[in-house]
């Protein structure tokens, strides 16, 4: 079974008296060990798809199955536990606590996983080394560049060793070079950790770095294509 399965997902939002259908019976399967990119114009429903597949949002109809679990069947606390043990997130805004240095940002969620301080710190250090920030461990967000902040956020997601990694517009606040580093890192995580990386972006530069690209429009998948390994190796 695929790591993530969407079965006839439907979702609509009501704003005042206006009802907007965001997902219209969308079905898709996403495999482990690769970076899947969902692209499309803003408002096409790609972020909503990510929210539902990661268990942050419930669909109006259809099923979202992650690692064989029907997410709708989990109680709120079970869903929290599922996310704690299996998912990592990277958001457009880096959402780092201003008071914590890079090492603490990454170690913080590990404490809630039940790891002792020493283990959490050494794992956090490894994750920061993996994103190339070994020289920035003691710096606070105010002392880091945008690209470095996003890499801290990736390290925070990565340190939990999640089977599922969700990224929402991870490069939109970054310049080309930093965007490149971030997408390379996400790609490498999929390959070397065997994680399922689902990335949502309207940034066309990312297409070349994905293993698979899903193009969305108006709540549906328009195209589903694999990127040539040579191009994806980047």
């Amino acid at each position: 079974m695929a790591a993530l399965v969407a079965e006839s997902l439907q979702k609509s939002f009501v704003t005042g008296s206006v009802r907007t259908d965001v997902l219209r019976g969308l079905s898709i399967e996403i495999e482990a060990g690769e970076l899947t990119l969902v692209s499309g114009p803003s408002g096409c429903g790609k972020s909503t798809l990510l929210a539902i597949l990661s268990g942050l949002l419930k669909p109006d109809a259809g099923r979202a199955i992650a690692l064989g679990q029907d997410l709708a069947r989990l109680a709120p606390t079970e869903l929290e536990r599922f996310r704690l043990h299996n998912t990592g997130f990277v958001f457009q805004g880096f959402n780092l606590f201003p008071a914590l240095d890079a090492l603490e940002q990454v170690a913080l969620p590990l404490g809630y996983l039940g790891l002792d301080d020493a283990t959490a710190r050494s794992r956090a250090r490894r994750a920061l080394e993996e994103v190339g920030l070994e020289s920035r461990l003691a710096l606070r967000p105010a002392e880091l560049s945008g690209g470095e902040k996003q890499r801290v956020a990736i390290a925070r997601a990565l340190a939990k060793e999640p089977k599922l990694l969700f990224a929402d517009e991870p490069t939109s606040a970054l310049d080309a070079a930093n965007g490149q580093v971030v997408i390379d890192t996400l790609h490498r995580i999929a390959r070397t950790h065997g994680a399922t990386v689902l990335c949502v972006s309207h940034d066309p530069r990312l297409v070349a770095h994905a293993d698979r690209v899903l193009a969305m429009e108006d709540g549906r998948i328009l195209s589903d294509r694999r990127v040539e390994p040579a191009a994806a190796a980047g």
Partner: protein
């Protein structure tokens, strides 16, 4: 575990400063109020607590010392008959009408008539022997230094009480009382001033017991048992407590204290919770990210409550220092203030209550930490 609550407090201290100050001033208000109220009400018992002796004997049912009424003369004999009684000292307490300088009008005063011997028990802590001896001058009286301005006179000043002339021969500190000016005179002078009873009866007898005697059992023995008892016996502490309790609860002042404490509690809690909520709202995206990563709401709640507890502890420390300064200043200026450990602990508990109630209110701001909002 990374100490998120503490790190955030230290790093973003400006954000938490208003709530810390709100807690500190709540603590200051509660403590100073308590100190003043207990100081004032303790002065209701000041004549008892600053006198020696083990037992007080007065009119049955007397609630507070200024409400004393004459008791029969033979009481003294009955007291002296008990083998454990070492000494009995009469203490006159009469109401007086004070007429000082013409432009001041009249004043209601209490006149205490006391034994002037050096080892007398009444006001033992207030009047040193030399000052006490000065009362032997006929018509000589002693007043509290803080009352001089009210009386419009200095040492040597002359006035009239109940139509009899008196002269201020000295001032003391610690005679200030609730409900009126206290004038101390010798028993002889006081008898002359007592128009109502002709100075034949006194309001109290203060009793010293022999060393080793148990005050409570002697009190029980001396207490008249008949239904028509003409006097009542209290231990010194019980009589002092009685006076404080009377002022606290019979005058409505105690209720005022409780009401003011409630107001302070609510105002403090509202200000503190608003600022804590603001701090939570300022970090809402970070909290939402943690929640997305699977950190339970309960754990996020704990972070906010920890912050509230730290704010409470720090505010309490600041409030405590401010209170100490105020109390020292007040004592310096003869303002009656009184703080005991139980009061401080109660106020501290109330202040921590303010912080924790505020924390609980601020936890509500966390419900906006919905990770789905990060994806819009």
């Amino acid at each position: 575990m990374v100490p998120l609550a503490r790190r955030t407090l230290v790093y973003e201290w400006r954000r938490f400063l208003p709530s810390l100050l709100a807690v500190a001033f709540s603590g200051l208000l509660l403590l100073v109020q308590a100190a003043l109220v207990f100081g004032i009400f303790d002065s209701a018992a000041v004549y008892i607590t600053r006198s020696g002796g083990d037992l007080w004997v007065g009119h049955p049912g007397t609630q507070s010392i200024e409400l004393g009424r004459p008791i029969p003369n033979d009481t003294e004999i009955r007291l002296r008959m008990d083998p454990d009684v070492a000494r009995v000292e009469p203490f006159m307490w009469i109401d007086g009408d004070w007429r000082g300088p013409a432009d001041r009008g009249g004043l209601s005063v209490f006149v205490s008539g006391i034994d002037t011997r050096a080892d007398a028990m009444v006001f033992a802590d207030v009047l040193p022997p030399a000052l006490r001896a000065s009362l032997d001058e006929p018509d000589g009286v002693i007043v509290d230094r803080a009352d001089l301005a009210k009386l419009g006179l200095g040492i040597g000043g002359r006035a009239v009480i109940n139509g009899h002339r008196v002269r201020i021969v000295g001032v003391a500190s610690g005679l200030r009382a609730l409900g009126g000016v206290n004038i101390v005179a010798s028993l002889e002078t006081a008898r002359r001033l007592d128009n109502d009873h002709g100075g034949t009866e006194v309001a109290y007898y203060v009793v010293r017991l022999r060393d080793g005697a148990d005050a409570e059992s002697v009190r029980a023995r001396l207490q008249p048992t008949s239904a028509t008892k003409r006097y009542e016996v209290w231990t010194r502490d019980a009589f002092a407590r009685r006076a404080v309790t009377y002022w606290m609860f019979e005058t409505g002042a105690g209720l005022g204290v409780v009401l003011l404490a409630l107001v302070v509690f609510f105002v403090g809690a509202i200000i503190t919770s608003q600022t804590l909520m603001g701090a939570v709202a300022g970090s809402i995206r970070e909290y939402a990210t943690l929640h997305a990563l699977g950190v339970a709401f309960g754990d996020l709640r704990r972070v906010v409550l920890q912050q509230a507890a730290w704010v409470g502890a720090a505010g309490l420390a600041v409030g405590g220092v401010l209170t100490a300064i105020v109390v020292v200043l007040a004592k310096h200026r003869d303002v009656p203030v009184q703080l005991d450990a139980a009061t401080v602990v109660a106020c501290a508990a109330l202040v921590m209550g303010i912080a924790l109630v505020s924390g609980l209110a601020a936890v509500r701001a966390l419900r906006h930490a919905d990770p789905a909002m990060l994806l819009r």
